[in-house]
Symmetry: C2
Subunit: 443 residues, 2 copies
């Protein structure tokens, strides 16, 4: 990469000029004055690769070159920083690696790419002495990567728990507020543009797991290993469970949780009961929040918009300013991509979900007969699972089955699995047992 | 300053080994492994200046030099970074300037020093090409300086509103929770160690105003001008006002608010009604939270412990890691002290409190007679102040006076001052009018 002298403008090439790319161009232009005053030099988009030339020209005007070939951007010798906003794993990966190979710094919002291919990308960047910045990949405009990587660098991070997918948080908020079913709210979310036509990545927790993998790597200094993340979505949640949780003083949120334990690192995304009094339990709608527990600082929380054109652009542009500010530093002295120096990553294993310790909400459909609860509590006691609360609901008129809700104390997941199998085998229990994990998030 | 080569340990000198200094030493030692893996080199305390040699030796052991003369630290050629934890304006200022003059980087938790003498200190640092880092000066362990200065650098900041003094937030939480008076809770807070024997700086809002001045400077790119901050504390708040606010759906918090307007910058600390549904309204006890509104990102919030040995040390050590990571960068390319390049600060004026626009809670003591409310509403209407809500409380048994609560829409403070003077002059009004500002914090 050519040496960039003081005050020379920074030339940025955008791969993609859709929602986030368009937002990035808009923010860079609107706030050019403030951004230059902060960065000490102008940061300008000089080229963009797009699908639709005409549409792009109309939106972007004539101040930048526009091409349909993204290689024109990554191979352009005048471009200092390439911003990858294409998404996906394949083309995006090739382009990012090519940009790095050409000595360019890269800013990306692509959580999937980093969670799956981050190790290879960071290695390539390290070898070339360039930076790969990715604040926009997690929680949109909330500077949580920076908080974890720099702001909390004094701490041994104990755990991270985040509402890091706005679509699912919107759906859960609506289900609770209005007593609606998952399917009804999903349809509304799609109509509002909060959920994709194919919502699988969001509702099944895959998007949250990508973001969680990135935070876990930075928090604990481990390489990316996305295949070991446990992922469970919200599509099977019923409004009954949301109501019962509420009655017991809990809210259900789709949380990404990563925790350091003696045996390894927990890395899991699943619906979670959390006490309604916790601040994070009151994060509603499309908002995101990440709670981080460090040994020195205690709990800190970061809250804001996790998606949208300008909130995401806010993070992309912050990365552009960051990269600009770090340009003259010795590459070995820059903030490491994953917070820890690349030769100092930990090989702590990711635990299987079977080995995770947490509490549980169990809902059983039982025949309204004597002895049922005795059988159930015996099974739990034999497996060493202690009960925190138990509620038997009144059966509906003419209904033979009653809902029984149990909250357990902390236990290991494999014990709960055994308990559920035994409970489901009882002749007095109809239907499958509903199991939702529960976290106190004590800090 | 001598050039520090890669991997050479960073030598830190502490000025003060009390609560925060002790916490800093403890955290650096306990997390030495993780911190070295992050910073790429060891960060170690090699010297500390203290008051009580014997006590310090007992606490710190023999691995560092201990002196009672702080000049031994600032003039020690082997020390790379001086951490100032003495507090106050006089000795601390001389030592910080001397350290800078000796080419040393400085980390400080001293909000008063920066709010009052920051311009001089940052100028000296710029001239010498050294860094002055101060994350610990605002909101303890919450990395909010970093968020404002780096994480939100894409944004035109519109306003910042923060609960940035734990003592007063604890007092207000207790007054609300338990229906106790200010004096009773202050006494408890002093017994618990949450309030100083002389609590003036906290309860009169001076501490919060110091922190607010620093955030305002960074958010808006203005020099320090602490003498222009408006400061009003919580010592006159009654439990009645807290209850009435609650009934109307509001919580009272001591907020530091700084806002950009067409005419200048608002900079004010005062008790504030905020809607109880806002997340920040639910920040209780000694916790701090800062809400920042940027034009691109929308509202983001940062929450955590604002004081205490290890939370504050968390920020001090994060600054040590930051300074270490930036050591090899060209000074002109580093993150500017106040986010904006020093030659690009704005001369936007700070508005007088008379020119601030906000809403108001007014409580009147009125004789329970016909026509009182007509007189009051006429006064407000004549001054162009529109009323959002009005509640007349039932008079207590045998009581001639009733409480009347008014909430106004947005208005300018000088109009409210005129209205209050006229209302107090009414023969039907007894006593002074209680006035508390109200912010919707819409984002």
């Amino acid at each position: 990469m050519e040496l960039i002298t003081h005050m020379k403008p920074i030339n940025v090439g955008l791969l993609g000029l859709g929602t986030v790319g368009g937002g990035t161009l808009t923010v860079l232009r609107r706030n050019a004055g403030e951004i230059t005053r902060r960065a000490g030099r102008e940061i300008r988009v000089t080229m963009a690769a797009v699908r639709d030339l005409e549409k792009a020209r109309k939106f972007a005007g004539n101040e930048l070159a526009i091409t349909t070939n993204p290689l024109d951007v990554v191979n352009n010798p005048d471009i200092d920083i390439v911003v990858e906003l294409i998404g996906g794993y394949t083309l995006a990966k090739d382009l990012v690696l090519q940009a790095i190979n050409n000595g360019k710094h890269v800013v990306t919002a692509n959580k999937a790419l980093l969670a799956v291919h981050g190790n290879e990308i960071f290695k390539a960047a390290q070898d070339k002495g360039v930076m790969v910045a990715f604040e926009a990949a997690v929680a949109g405009g909330i500077p949580v990567i920076k908080a974890l990587r720099e702001g909390l660098s004094a701490n041994r991070i104990e755990w991270i728990a985040g509402i890091i997918n706005g679509t699912t948080n919107f759906i859960l908020s609506e289900m609770r507020d209005k007593g609606l079913s998952f399917d009804t709210v999903l349809k509304q979310a799609q109509d509002l543009g909060y959920a994709e036509a194919d919502p699988t990545f969001d509702i099944e927790g895959v998007d949250a797991a990508h973001k969680l993998m990135i935070m876990s790597a930075i928090g604990f200094g481990i390489p990316m290993q996305f295949d070991k993340a446990y992922t469970e979505g919200i599509s099977k949640l019923t409004k009954e469970d949301i109501t019962y949780a509420e009655e017991l003083g809990y809210r259900i949120k789709l949380l990404g949780i990563t925790k350091r334990t003696d045996k390894g690192i927990e890395l899991r995304v699943h619906p979670t009961l959390i006490p309604a009094t916790r601040l994070i339990a009151n994060v509603e709608g499309v908002m995101n929040a990440v709670l981080v527990k460090g040994d020195a600082v205690g709990a800190t929380m970061y809250y804001g918009r996790g998606a949208g054109a300008e909130p995401t652009a806010s993070a992309v542009v912050a990365d552009l300013v960051d990269v600009t500010r770090m340009l003259t530093s010795d590459p070995e002295n820059r903030v490491p991509h994953l917070a820890f120096q690349p030769d100092a990553l930990s090989n702590a294993p990711i635990l299987s979900i079977e080995d995770v310790h947490t509490s549980y909400y169990l809902r059983l459909k039982a025949f309204d007969k004597p002895g049922v609860l005795a059988d159930v509590t015996r099974i739990l006691a034999d497996l060493g699972i202690s009960i925190d609360a138990m509620v038997q609901k009144e059966p509906a008129e003419g209904e033979q089955l009653v809902d029984v809700i149990l909250l357990t104390h902390l236990t290991v997941e494999k014990a709960i699995n055994q308990a559920i199998a035994k409970i489901e085998a009882l002749p007095t229990i109809a239907d499958k047992v509903t199991r939702i994990r529960l976290e106190q998030l004590n800090a």
